[in-house]
């Protein structure tokens, strides 16, 4: 038997929590019972595994132990006429306990966490908790929310799932596109939350993205989202300078980009292209893949990027997409053409709108107006890396 260190158990907990909870939610039809029993099983594991060694299938051991312990406890409670326990036992009685094919269990739980009857903040918190296995304090820290607030958000969301009768179910074909979009939005939101500051949140989002690709291999947008996250993440080492200020794509030291992530991301983009069912995430991933191909900023194939932005704007006609397209236009038709496009957009509250206008004005030699726009951008972001970048340009 291999020796088991506390760190191993912690890693297994993080990796297998979601799988175990998903199976037990199916068995008992109740999230709280599932979570409590999985926690209990890991407590037993911490006690036993260092002496007994790692079981051949740690996840299987956790699931079986959790189930057996929960049934013992529910029997005691059911004997005291606890209706909730009786219902959970009845549910468990009718559910087969196969530990092997948990694919559908996890998918079911993901769709439950991202159900449209739950608010976006609740969807994010539930997904990180139940699928990602993050603790409540970890989620609270990641979203800069006091721990009791996050705990309350999770309790309320789980309460609504139970009380309103949100089913554990993979949505039927007709509803799948819309429901899948919500799942992808949640994962990308987690990624973006970590984009400039929290590398661990990005890693978690990528882990969720990989899981989704594994669970839904035939959905091209799932693959597109993973590719987009990997390609964005590949630039993390070059994205901030030694002073903590944001470094723009054009100014980044491209030798610091993570080649492994780029190769994986570009591979996924190629798979998407072969499939030829484009969607917003795939197109954004393709845009990032073009950037990743360029050894220097001057080598960037802007014509291809503009063509991709045209395609993205067609399927997602939002001002933010139009603004990003204007950046590509600047590289082809010059800053004045881009400024004309940007000036038509109603994005006054968005810091990047002002930062991009500032850059275009600077390139046109209109330095006074540029300084005003940098200041306007500075007034609209709280992020320190972004603020540091802008401050260097306002002076």
């Amino acid at each position: 038997m291999p020796a088991v260190a506390a760190a191993d158990i912690e890693r297994i907990f993080r990796e297998e929590y979601g799988r175990a909870v998903s199976v037990l939610v199916r068995v008992f039809g109740d999230i709280d019972i599932a979570e409590e029993s999985v926690q209990e099983a890991f407590t037993v594991a911490v006690r036993r595994w260092p002496d007994d060694g790692l079981p051949p299938s740690p996840a299987g051991w956790i699931i079986t132990t959790a189930r057996n312990r929960a049934i013992d406890r529910l029997r005691r409670e059911a004997a005291r006429q606890d209706k909730h326990a009786q219902a959970a036992l009845l549910h468990a009685h009718n559910e087969p306990v196969e530990v092997g094919p948990v694919r559908d269990d996890r998918l079911r739980l993901i769709f439950t966490c991202c159900h449209p009857a739950l608010g976006r903040a609740a969807q994010v918190a539930l997904t990180l908790r139940l699928i990602g296995g993050l603790s409540t304090p970890e989620i609270a820290r990641a979203f800069l929310v006091p721990e009791p607030t996050m705990a309350q958000r999770l309790v309320r969301a789980k309460g609504k799932i139970r009380d309103a009768g949100i089913p554990y179910r993979i949505p039927p074909e007709a509803e799948l596109p819309g429901r899948l979009r919500a799942v992808l939005t949640v994962v990308y939101l987690i990624f973006n939350e970590g984009h400039l500051t929290r590398a661990d949140l990005c890693a978690e989002a990528i882990r969720l993205g990989r899981l989704l690709v594994e669970l839904m291999p035939d959905e091209p947008e799932v693959r597109g989202l993973l590719a987009l996250m990997l390609l964005t993440e590949s630039r993390r080492p070059a994205r901030t300078g030694p002073d903590g200020a944001l470094v723009r794509l054009a100014d980044q030291d491209r030798t610091r980009w993570n080649r492994e992530l780029i190769a994986e991301g570009q591979g996924l983009v190629r798979q998407c292209l072969r499939r030829n069912q484009p969607g917003p995430y795939q197109i954004q991933a393709a845009i990032n893949a073009v950037h990743s191909d360029a050894a220097t900023a001057a080598d960037t194939d802007w014509q291809q990027i503009l063509a991709l932005y045209d395609q993205l704007l067609a399927c997602e006609p939002t001002p933010v997409v139009a603004l990003n397209r204007a950046v590509a236009v600047a590289e082809i038709d010059g800053p004045q053409a881009a400024l004309n496009l940007a000036n038509k957009l109603d994005l006054d509250g968005y810091y990047l709108f002002h930062a991009i206008r500032a850059d275009l004005l600077r390139r046109l030699g209109r330095t006074d107006e540029a300084a005003l726009s940098y200041q306007a951008a500075l007034d609209r972001t709280e992020n320190t890396a972004e603020r540091e970048f802008l401050r260097q340009h306002t002076g």
């Binding site: 309103a164 009768g165 949100i166 089913p167």
Partner: protein, 118 residues
């Protein structure tokens, strides 16, 4: 089976519907009611008169106080409701979508505390 209340939320002062439009609306709602009945999901339902027909009765300290008008003076009021039986929220939301389409107003879905008797 669970039970849900689907309530129709109307905003005061929204533009008056023409008699033809009202006639069509009634037909739509009748069709929805028939569909609920046929599916065995109907428990109860009906339209309500406007809130100026409402009276609030409040028992407090052994006395009963009666006041004219709705409980909350506001811009919105409940125009009617259904009570339906459904296996889960997804089924209830699907009925609510059809209800909203029929009555042309937003519909709120709220679960009952107790499950329906089967």
């Amino acid at each position: 089976m669970r039970q849900y209340m689907l309530s129709v939320h109307m905003v005061d002062g929204s533009p008056q519907r023409s008699p033809e439009a009202i006639q069509q609306l009634y037909q739509q709602v009748d069709g929805f009611n028939a569909e609920l009945l046929a599916a065995g999901s109907w428990v109860f339902g009906g339209g309500l008169l406007p809130p100026d027909a409402a009276t609030v009765v409040r028992a407090s300290g052994g006395a009963v106080l009666t006041t004219d008008g709705p409980f909350a003076e506001g811009k919105e009021h409940i125009g009617g409701f259904w009570v339906i039986r459904a296996p889960d929220l997804d089924a209830a939301l699907a009925w609510a979508g059809k209800a909203s389409l029929a009555c042309e107003d937003p519909v709120e879905v709220r679960p009952f505390q107790e499950e329906a008797e089967d």
